[in-house]
Symmetry: C2
Subunit: 180 residues, 2 copies
Amino acid sequence: MIKLKYKINENNELVNYQNRGMELEKELNETNEYYKIHDIALISKRPTPIKVVKCQNKKITEAYFEESSSTDYNGVYKGKYIDFEAKETNSKTSFPLNNLQENQLFHIKNVVKNGGISFLIISFSLLEKYYLLMCRDLIEFLQNNERKSIPLSYIEKHGHEIKRGLIPPLDYLAVLEKIL
Amino acid sequence: MIKLKYKINENNELVNYQNRGMELEKELNETNEYYKIHDIALISKRPTPIKVVKCQNKKITEAYFEESSSTDYNGVYKGKYIDFEAKETNSKTSFPLNNLQENQLFHIKNVVKNGGISFLIISFSLLEKYYLLMCRDLIEFLQNNERKSIPLSYIEKHGHEIKRGLIPPLDYLAVLEKIL
């Protein structure tokens, strides 16, 4: 199922692109499928909202992708509401905040207000590192900083590394379990 | 916002169609908006999944509606995961089970297994009655019955009536709060 991929990077090094070849979304979908099969949690990706303009019988002939007003994933873990956004960045030093839309931030704040468990999963592709950052820490950062990106050092300090595995590829609930 | 509608029904009676004019989905969306504004809960309708086949620039030119593999609504209430399906029936005596697809039932069972709060909201349009039926009671009915519909009497006994109001139109969380 997992293909090993190697490539020469910008520093002329042979890099294992296994992780990057299998995109973050795919890794998360596989992880969520694993959680579902093993009755660990039921978490899924929300469909991208699409505005349908014209429809002939069952065929849609004109439609447009809409901006999502919420995060990508939600579901249930031990009765608790789980909600997160997954983002990949090529930066090696920080997570650019323009990755998050205004209405997604609004949604995140609403989830936190209602007692839901809200976090980001950030993949630093070039570093091959994954972090889970609780949204309370994201909100605190936003309240105290004018910066347009979160430095990696902040994420290393306040976030929690998710080590990549095989099955499931990205066991983020094991990391969450330690935080809760 | 709410239009009063009157019509002659099959028994030649003048019927207030206020409820039916404003469909169940609209009533629930309004209720969920009320919950959101008042920080009571964050619950929303999932977008209908659409399979995109062709796309020119930002315009989708061929796509098809897909069968939903889950329920219509989910979200968070006091940290708890909430998941429900809303159905309307014209029957005056029972809720036809072909209203629920096989994969929806599968999803419902998974939600229950993971400790989520799962229920149906059933609107008997012609009776102008709304019920909340916990899915544990739905599952029990399915386990003990070969019937193709749930009799209204079962729903009256095991379900919980949701009285229609103005703001919010269908305060199902007030009913749920009493059950939990």
